[in-house]
């Protein structure tokens, strides 16, 4: 991908995010009716974190679908959803976080609200929480803690996911009296999490993506092997450090262009005074670049 195309992607990122959020939740009339789309689209997973129970949702949430299969009595692991996640990870990696995920977009919009902004540079160890969330709440607990029929709860959806409250519980309960009557303590708990993420997003950049998101964790692991990569041209780079300073995910792109935390937002591309950074799609072209991974 040449530099012009990289700049084009970065410039229209906001629009792409809005479009992706709309496409992911295309069944808009359902918001008014308080019903769910239950057609064949739900057999497929959307790339971003987007609740199955959102009235507008066009597909299933990969994390939700994974837990549903793992938690069922028939299966202990979901090869189908894992396959989709690996595929998406190889094709796009955390580009999905930066460009396609509705919940990431929401956090970014919230971050635009004027307020004192806090750096997350010192909070880097918290990044590892999301891998624990993935391993424990998404993979292990639904398969291990089961009832007599061998069925487990979707622990992440049930106890942690703020997107489920925002997209599922809130819009459904507004229009559906039966759902409203069913709201209980779990709703209050997750509403508090949502509130914390919302407030947190105003002062921190994408706190949920950085520290908690199990889907982000999957794509982070795939970032190294993704076809979608960052390229730093060593010949033109003047090592000024502007890119590292501009990076909202606390990555030094010149040292680790395919760092697990890089969501391909392109702020480094924009900040580079010599235009040394661009996106690259494919198997890497080492004649021009030296990709060093630590």
């Amino acid at each position: 991908m040449d530099k012009n195309r990289s700049h084009f992607l970065v410039r229209f990122r906001g629009l792409i995010q809005a479009g992706a959020a709309l496409l992911t939740n295309i069944h808009l009339p359902n918001f008014l009716k308080g019903t769910l789309y239950q057609g064949k689209g739900k057999y497929l997973c959307v790339p971003g974190l987007n609740c199955y129970s959102c009235p507008g949702a066009a597909g299933a949430c990969p994390i939700g679908a994974f837990q549903a299969v793992v938690g069922s009595s028939k299966f202990r692991f979901s090869y189908y959803v894992t396959g989709i996640l690996i595929l998406l990870g190889v094709l796009l990696g955390r580009f999905i976080c930066g460009f396609l995920c509705p919940f990431g977009w929401l956090q970014e919009l919230l971050h635009k609200i004027p307020s004192p902004k806090l750096s997350t540079r010192r909070l880097k160890p918290l990044r590892y929480i999301k891998y624990a969330v993935l391993l424990i709440m998404v993979v292990l607990l639904p398969a291990v803690i089961v009832n007599t029929s061998g069925m487990g709860d979707p622990f992440f959806c049930k106890y942690l996911c703020p997107q489920g409250v925002l997209e599922g519980a809130i819009p459904l309960s507004l229009t559906n009296a039966g759902i409203r009557a069913a709201l209980g303590k779990l709703f209050s708990w997750k509403f508090c999490i949502l509130l914390a993420v919302v407030v947190g997003s105003v002062v921190f950049y994408r706190p949920f993506c950085k520290w908690l998101c199990p889907l982000g964790a999957v794509y982070a692991l795939m970032n190294h092997v993704s076809l979608f990569q960052m390229r730093v041209d060593r010949d033109t780079c003047v090592s000024c450090g502007a890119c590292a300073k501009a990076c909202p995910m606390d990555v030094d792109i010149t040292r680790t262009p395919n760092h697990a935390e890089c969501i391909r937002c392109g702020k480094c591309i924009k900040s580079c005074p010599t235009k040394a950074i661009c996106y690259q799609y494919g198997f890497g072209d080492k004649s021009k670049t030296e990709i060093k991974e630590n």
Binding site: G64, A65, L91, I179, G184, Y281, D285
Partner: protein, 288 residues
């Protein structure tokens, strides 16, 4: 060249998805297709056609309408509008030439045909609405229990009240409340009540799903009746329109749903209390 191969690989991987998607069925909740009307045209389109026919001979029809009996009775409301027009036309026959009369008669015939089509349209909307919005009558059904014995909506009349529980086999909260439902079934027997389970995956008598449902019921020691019917029937559409599981409702002897259906397991305290309130209400009604 490498980039070219990368794109080809990417494309191939995407295409491979198409192969998976059609066979895989084990995602999240039970995904059900919304039923669609089998007739090509909607009611609104047919009514628009009628209006066009009348508009074509507007001045003549005005004369007919002017001579019509303005007393609307039950019979005029329930009979075919084409017949009504034909009647009125015969009364006002002498106001028209033979040619005009023939044209109007042809129009009335067409309208009668369209009316029959409208009457034959499935009453989808009422049945497919979610439970909370529908009127209070439980839709009619003819079906079987999981052991193959015939059942129908007349079973409501045999009980003082019936607790109907909608569930599916992959739903953990549903399975978790089975023993409570069984206990409830035993407790309400002396009051003339009964718990009926409807597993939405067993609709249309799917043998594999019936076996799975039976296994779950057996494991939970649940002995209450579970039934199924055609998914295309009114009750079937009603069951498939439910989007939160488990959903439990109370039906009185007359077949009316009492109050609002309860979403969520009745093993939760407040849901159990709500259910008891609905049962008391149903008992009071059946004793009247």
């Amino acid at each position: 060249m490498k980039r070219f191969f990368a794109w080809i690989t990417a494309l191939l991987m995407l295409l491979s998805l198409a192969a998976c998607s059609s066979t895989q069925t084990s995602t999240a909740a039970a995904s059900q297709q919304a039923s669609t009307s089998e007739t090509g045209k909607s009611e609104n389109e047919l009514i628009a056609e009628e209006n066009d026919i009348l508009a074509a001979n507007n001045t003549l029809w005005e004369k007919v309408f002017a001579s019509m009996d303005k007393n609307v009775t039950d019979t005029t409301l329930s009979s075919n509008y084409g017949d009504i027009l034909m009647n009125a036309l015969d009364h006002a026959k002498d106001q028209f030439t033979d040619e005009e009369y023939a044209a109007l008669k042809a129009d009335a015939d067409k309208i009668r045909e369209i009316e029959t089509q409208i009457a034959a349209l499935p009453q989808d909307e009422a049945a497919s609405q979610s439970m909370t919005q529908t009127a209070s009558t439980f839709p009619q059904f003819e079906g079987k229990d999981l052991d193959g014995n015939s059942v129908s909506s007349s079973l409501f009349a045999d009980n003082a009240f019936t607790v109907v529980n909608f569930w599916f086999s992959g739903c953990k909260p549903c399975v978790d409340e089975m023993d409570d439902l069984n206990a409830l079934n035993q407790r309400i027997q002396e009051q003339g009540g009964e718990v009926i389970g409807i597993n939405t995956e067993t609709l249309d008598g799917n043998a594999d799903n019936i076996a799975a449902a039976k296994q779950i019921l057996e494991q939970a020691g649940a002995a209450f009746r579970n039934i199924y019917f055609d998914s295309a029937s009114d009750a079937g559409k009603f069951a498939l329109g439910i989007m939160a599981f488990p959903t439990t409702c109370v039906v009185d002897r007359q077949g009316n749903i009492v109050g609002e259906p309860i979403m969520g397991g009745i093993d939760k305290e407040d849901n159990a209390a709500t259910l008891q309130k609905l049962i008391d209400e149903a008992l009071a009604q059946s004793q009247q």
